[in-house]
């Protein structure tokens, strides 16, 4: 349903950040994109959500051609977006929970009251989202602003809004970053539930656990290119880590010893220094970075 070929996009400074990426997502499939931030994740997410102009390539969702289309066309094509920076693209801090809950839904016919917008209906809609997603700290949807919510509750509000549209495609960029443990669990479950509804999901994350737990297929993004593809079943955390840093794994010969390594790595989630000692220097860094997450 998402069919992207050769997409290219530049970062804010105009430097090419995505180098001809091909990406397909099927219905009800979670494609995890692993990588260290700054390797094109933001640009990829924004290009797929329609808010960053692609400098090349072809993008189709449900065979609707979206290359060069307006952000509105992306929304209308059934694409939902959970941005990495909640306060930038995710919400308007100074506006009420009602406004932020209705940020995309306000156009729907059910909120139209003749030529007017039915704020009462929007209010009950916001309340229903709050209930369903267990969003805390909202005593009154018109009085409490999005900026008053904690990170986790705000993220839940954004996710609630994006999922309630029952999207065909969900782009989630670091959906659990800076969110409390309870909310992390909730958000991950919500994403998996949405997958059951047939939504195709692009999950971008730095967290290897999140990627391997939620994805059906894993791609590693490094310097704007997909350098490695695997599945959670076949995934080897160390190999993933190495690929995320861009260190090339020498194909067959290097794979052989690693094939032996997984049991040790899988047995203890926290890679001990002894484990990494066998690998290259960069592996040690990655193991450390992975734990930090």
């Amino acid at each position: 349903m998402l069919d992207a070929t050769g997409i290219r996009a530049a970062d804010d400074r105009g430097i090419n950040a995505l180098d001809s990426l091909d990406l397909t997502v099927r219905e009800g499939e979670v494609v995890g994109i692993a990588g260290v931030s700054g390797n094109g994740q933001t640009e990829l997410a924004e290009a797929l959500a329609g808010i960053r102009e692609m400098t090349g390539g072809d993008l189709r969702v449900n065979s609707t051609d979206l290359a060069g289309a307006s952000p509105r066309a992306f929304v209308d094509a059934g694409i939902s977006f959970v941005p990495e920076d909640r306060l930038q693209y995710g919400c308007a801090e100074e506006l009420s929970v009602l406004h932020n809950a209705g940020m995309k839904a306000y156009r729907e016919g059910r909120f139209a009251d003749g030529p007017l917008l039915d704020y009462d209906e929007l209010g009950s809609y916001a309340e229903s989202l709050i209930e369903e997603f267990d969003i805390r700290g909202v005593s009154d949807v018109t009085d409490i602003d999005a900026g008053d919510l904690s990170g986790g509750n705000l993220q839940k509000l954004i996710l609630a809004r994006e999922l309630d549209r029952d999207p065909d495609l969900l782009i989630a960029n670091q959906p659990t970053r800076g969110v409390d443990v309870g909310a992390i669990e909730f958000i991950r479950e919500a994403i998996l539930e949405q997958r059951e509804q047939g939504t195709g999901i692009v999950l971008i994350s730095e967290d290897i656990d999140e990627i391997t737990d939620l994805s059906d297929r894993i791609l590693v993004l490094y310097e704007g290119e997909f350098v490695y593809e695997t599945t959670p079943e076949a995934a080897d955390r160390e190999r993933l880590g190495i690929e995320m840093t861009g260190s090339r794994v020498d194909d067959e010969p290097a794979d052989a010893p690693e094939a032996v390594a997984p049991p040790a790595g899988a047995g203890s989630d926290t890679a001990e220094p002894g484990d990494s000692a066998e690998a290259t220097d960069s592996t040690t860094d990655v193991a450390a970075a992975g734990d930090g997450d």
Binding site: A49, P71, R72, Y89, G90, A92, G102, M103, D148
Partner: protein, 361 residues
């Protein structure tokens, strides 16, 4: 020792939002009292003349309402872009453009009043909208700062007016730099309280703006773009459309202010028609920024300030500039109030601590 603690407010209490404009005005009046005292005038008596006597006399009330018409309309011209996060500093130019276009129709088109007056208003609105559309388009398309462009276009508008009134539009029967007197058909009739029908237009504009901003999907978009245009774009709202719309409608309101002032009050357009309402509109919009109704109240207040101020300056022989000082103080206190809205200030007077720390020092 005074310890001052600043903490960012997580939530702005509602009462603070309502209290700010009132407190702002009271503080400005309090500071103005210092200037009055320095001039040897009792502030209480002066303020009584300014507000009390003006409001108690029929003449004062009528004058206040007449003055309020252009102030409310121009206030809306600044308020609407402000909702979308933009500053329209050029309402004065849009007002003047409206006056020129409306006066031109009034002088050159021969129709009965019921048709001519609406046509004049439409032309004035269109001219104001056109002038306001330029900074909006530059901002929306190329991110050119609308504060600068709208302000500078005001001077362009004033020069164009000066040229037209001294040239093509000049009264053919005389040598004065003004147009001919508008005919009776082109004069706005009196409506209520002895005030010309421009007041009705202003109230209608307030109502339309209030409903438009608060109750429609378009108003939802305007508010959202004003609060966070990046998120609004992500949600598929069209920033270019919103920016153009708020400026164009705002400019149209300013244009209506211009023609209602000419056809309702002055009767002819003078080359140096530069009433300053478009600039006063900025504190009006800031004071009433929470809703169009508040803009109307702020417009009425400023009208009262001007009308009462001039009777005060006559009665006590104080400079009329005092009114301008009050206006400036209101802006100053408004900015201060923003700070207090954002931060909670705790002041602690700790005498014991000051004694000990003082001793150590």
């Amino acid at each position: 020792m005074v310890r001052i603690d600043l903490t960012a407010r997580e939530h702005v209490p509602r009462w603070l939002g309502y209290a700010t404009p009132v407190v702002t005005v009271l503080l400005a009046l309090a500071c103005g009292a210092i200037a009055l005292l320095a001039l040897g005038v009792s502030p209480l008596a002066a303020y009584w003349t300014m507000f009390g006597e003006t409001l108690l006399s029929t003449f004062g009330r009528t004058q206040t309402l007449i003055k309020a018409v252009p102030l409310i309309l121009a206030g809306l011209a600044v308020y609407l872009p402000l909702r979308a996060g933009l500053f329209n500093i050029g309402a004065e130019g849009q007002l003047v453009f409206g006056a020129v276009a409306g006066a031109w129709i009034g002088l050159n088109v021969n129709l009965p009043g019921v048709l001519l007056l609406p046509l004049m208003f439409v032309a004035a609105g269109a001219a104001g909208a056109f002038l306001a559309g330029i900074p909006a388009w530059l901002r929306a398309k190329w991110d050119v700062n609308e504060i600068i462009t709208s302000l500078l276009l005001t001077f362009v508008a004033l020069q164009i007016q000066s040229y037209l009134v001294r040239g093509p539009m000049q009264d053919p029967t005389g040598n004065f730099p003004h147009t001919a007197q508008l005919s009776a058909a082109a004069t706005i009739p009196k409506a209520i309280f002895n005030v010309h029908a421009g007041l009705v237009v202003a109230i209608a504009a307030v109502a339309v703006t209030y409903v438009g901003v608060r109750k429609t999907a378009l108003g939802f978009e305007i508010t959202f773009v004003g609060a966070n245009d990046a998120a609004a774009r992500q949600a598929g709202m069209n920033r270019v459309k919103i920016y153009l719309l708020v400026f164009v409608i705002g400019g149209a309101f300013a244009g209506l202010a211009g023609i209602s002032e000419i056809a309702g009050l002055q009767g002819r357009l003078r080359a140096r028609f530069e009433p300053g309402y478009g600039f006063t509109a900025i504190p009006i919009a800031l004071l009433g920024r929470s809703s169009a109704v508040n803009v109307m109240l702020a417009g009425l207040f400023f009208a009262l300030l001007f009308v009462g101020g001039s009777s005060m300056s006559v009665a006590y022989g104080v400079p009329a500039a005092l009114v301008e000082i009050l206006q400036a103080l209101i802006i100053l206190f408004l900015i201060t109030a923003e700070f207090f809205k954002r931060y909670k200030v705790d002041i602690e007077f700790d005498r014991a601590a000051s004694a000990t720390t003082g001793g150590e020092a």
